[in-house]
Amino acid sequence: MLALLLLHLAAAALAPLLVRWWGRQAFLALALVPAASFGWIVSRLGSVTDGGDLRETVPWIPTLDLEIVLRLDALALTLAALVTGVGALVLVYCARYVEPDADGTGRFAGTLTAFAGAMLGLVLADDLLLLYVFWELTTVFSFLLIGGDGRRLAARRAASQALVLTTAGGLAMLVGLLLIGRASGTHLLSEVVSKPGSGTAMVAGTLLVLAGAVTKSAMVPFHFWLPAAMEAPTPVSAYLHAAAMVKAGIYLVARLAPGLADQPGWRPVVLGLGAATMLVGGYRALRQTDLKLLLAFGTVSQLGFLVVLMGAGSRELAAAGLAMTLAHALFKSTLFLTVGVIDHATGTRDLRRLSGLGRELPVVAVIGCLGAASMAGVPPLLGFVGKEAAFAGLWDAGLPDRTAAAVVLAVLVLGSALTAGYSARFVWGAFARKREVVEPVGADSRPGALFLAAPAVLALAGLLAGPASPLLEHLVAGYADTLPLFAPEPEHLGLWHGWQPALALSAVSLLGGAALFAGRAAVTRTQRRLAVGASADEGYWNVVQGLDRLSILVTGTTQRGSLPAYLGTILVVVLALPGTLLLTRAPWPGEWRAWDSPVQALVGVVVLAAAAMSLRIRQRLSAVLVVGVTGYGLAVLFALQGAPDLALTQFLVETLTLVTFVLVLRQLPKDISERHRPRERLVRGVIAVGVGALMAAASAVAIGARDAPPVSADYPEEAYGFGGGKNIVNVTLVDIRAWDTLGEISLLVVAATGVASLVFLRRRTGAVDRLDPAAGATHGGDTPAGGGRAPRGRWLAASVTLPPERRSVVLEVITRVLFHTILVFSLYLLFSGHNEPGGGFAGGLVAGLALVLRYLAGGRYELGEAAPVDPGVLLGAGLLFAGATGAGGLFLGAEVLQTAILETTLPVLGDVKLVTSLFFDMGVYLIVVGLVLDVLRSLGAEVDRQEDDDDPIELGEDEVVIR
């Protein structure tokens, strides 16, 4: 069974390709998949007729106790045969229905095949959650098929309406399934049915599951999505919205009825909604003028009928229901496909414009009449057999309550009369010659044999299955026998049961239908007179619009559009919640010390003073410098605290930050203008002081609460033993917590890419600005030599490109002397970092500062000469290095990112100890250099270029900037 599902999946995936190769003939090949499934399923008939079943269990997610459990019993076999059989025929039909050169055929074919697979999975699934998965899959495919290519408003609305309604029901059903599974203590449908749980949860679960079935099977008051879904192409209507998907709700009701029919609430909901739906659908079908809509409302009506039969929970009605399900699938898809043929031949489905088509297309007319006769319940077709069995069952018993049975019987007879009425209307509308049609639309073309094959086969099946219905008895009984029998003895399926009341009721319904048809003018007038302004469909739109209004109201009230207001709200919440906890629950430290050392207090005073000044200063650069002072002060504190690595990194980063600030701020006005009213400033101040006090208290509490031995107590030993390094902080970064570091350097890559993409609008980066001897864009008069080597008589390669007033000989000399020294020092930091202060971060920052020096001294061409690489390459290479080192540990027999230590003696170098985490650190080094280079290339060189070229934004000819 799983193989069948996988076959459908493969076929769906291949479908677009097949359609590209073979055009619409590909549908014939695709039809083989459901056809083969049909053959296999029917061949299992023998093993399920006596109440037996076939099972397949495949473990799926063992930790969640999820399995793929598939089960084929009599009910599943009937539905699966329907799904695959009708599916194959509809695919064959598509091979002629679809225009040869139509767009989107590949997608359509794939979706339709995938739907067939999902529907098959739905009826085979025995696991509750698996059932739900397939259930929602059919919803999604239905959405795609109704929406089509998404270019028409009506189709989009119909698709979203169907999706919203069935998904809402589906979600309710999911909750219901979980409740039922919990109450019954099992996740298998078959076990739930045989041993259902009890209690409130079970009742609630049952009702929620019914909500899913009711929306899926288009019961009142959710019936309106089904007629709207007629926007879909006719094969989709025939398959999804007549034979298969809308039967999912019927199937679920039938599947659960043996176990849950006696739950309180089941019968009132199922019988009440089913009966109401049958009447509403039939009533509205009688006044449709579009043949497809007529059939759609007819489907709504018949679904109500089926839900009544399947949900009654008695053997006799379940048997009738299963027979009727088969009959309905056969005749309704026949009729839809017939309408598709008519639409193809004449270009219309409007029965006010069709006339005399029966004579023009006699074969189509015969097929259509067979389908309609079965729908109306005319003997000897299968529709008659099913209806007759239903009437007989209800006449004898059918329900535990006799009064209810009588009411339901009356409704069913009335509904059947309506059904007979709109069946007659269909035949008359499609094929009869009508005198009142002035300009009838004739058939432009005659449908070919293959086009008619599918409806013909389905109609013949309905015709033959009537007399042959005793043969179905075994199959039907295989399911129906799981339900209690209320009648004295079971009625068997068959055409002739002798003169009995049910026969009379069938005759009454047919006569009623004939009367409705004969008096159709009067019926139409009455319906017009009774028409009310409101409809369920309008109710739906009103609800949707109400939700829209509500969401706008909520959004409008909460989103005021001011960033400070949002941040302020967050901070006030921080003050209110953790603040309260801190005041009431936190353990306050009992004793205090003034400081660790007087120097610490001195630095603290400087940092605080700088922070306070930063609030007042409105001059941009000064404010930046003052904030920089707090950073440098922090570095001193790090050093005092015994963290040389931190102090080093903080110094380097603070310097780089200052440079980056200057690069950007040079374009901005000198002063920051004040935009806040005094009252706003007061509020900001209150919040700021509050949060500051909160954090001060939090830090005091946190320091005071540190009394357990830290997790890092063993780090020194592990660092040397496993990590092979003496600098514990560095080993922590590249080994003990290497996963963290990997994530953090990835973040650096993202940040660098973000910087570049904000400055370079279209590409990640522009071309590297190299010296071009031919261009001669210099200010020095003579042409600079290429190749990155400074020519004789000059200190730097490209500084001549700068205007003289921007050049500084002192800086050029210093750069020339120091650049390579700094680079060597950065490498030293990288390689010695495992045992001494340093490492990839510090080394990379130092190398970055060397580049900053080159750029400041020589401009953007100098930067290009110093680092003629794309920063993206550096970043990518770094990430690759770090990641590959992690994977490398695996090959050396360790875990991911575990350090391996290789020690060997080399001829010249002597003892060499190579730690693999060094390569990880190299990756870090490359990424940090790449980050700095990216910042310089974007905010430095590219901004220079934009100013030099007077090209504010790099744009193509057809691009515009939306401001």
């Binding site: 767009d103 009230t557 707090t630």
Partner: protein
């Protein structure tokens, strides 16, 4: 462990200054506030790491004299990441200035528009007001007799389906 007075006061002062700047509309001041907050948080991490000690490097000091290496490793990456994020915000300032000659976070116009139209709704299409061929089928008992090819003007019309 006995807390010093220096650290909580310093941390509280940096947080207060950072928050005040963060609540400004000028992006430059927001970024400065962000940097102050970053410094304050690093200091908070460091202070909770216990009393200061010798550098955590073997051979330079004994393990029992060392300061706790774990917060140091956390802070080290945080410092570099703060630089990355600061560079990103600076790039945003640059772009905002380039495009709009403005580096302030102004009020979000879209939010204001949404707030102003609380009485209307997003989907103002009433089925009754639609052209018959666009109406939901169940609504007026009518499906379009002929499908129209497309209702979106700018999509190319490719083939008429039936």
């Amino acid at each position: 462990m006995t807390p010093t007075i220096v650290f909580p006061v310093l941390i509280g002062g940096l947080y207060a200054a950072g928050i005040y700047l963060l609540l400004d509309r000028s992006l430059t001041r927001v970024l400065l506030g962000f940097l102050l907050l970053g410094n304050a948080t690093n200091l908070l991490l460091l202070s909770t790491g216990g009393p200061g000690g010798m550098a955590p490097i073997l051979g330079y000091s004994e393990p029992e004299d060392m300061s706790d290496p774990l917060p140091q490793a956390l802070i080290l990456t945080a410092i570099v990441i703060t630089f990355g994020v600061a560079a990103f915000v600076l790039a945003m300032i640059h772009r905002s200035w380039r495009l709009a000659r403005n580096e302030a976070v102004s009020t979000d116009e879209e939010d204001r528009r949404v707030a102003a139209r609380s009485a209307t709704d997003a989907d103002e299409l009433d089925p009754d007001e639609l052209a018959p061929e666009d109406r939901p089928a169940g609504h007026a008992d009518s499906l379009p007799v002929r499908r129209i090819p497309a209702d979106d003007v700018d999509l190319p019309v490719t083939g008429v389906e039936r």
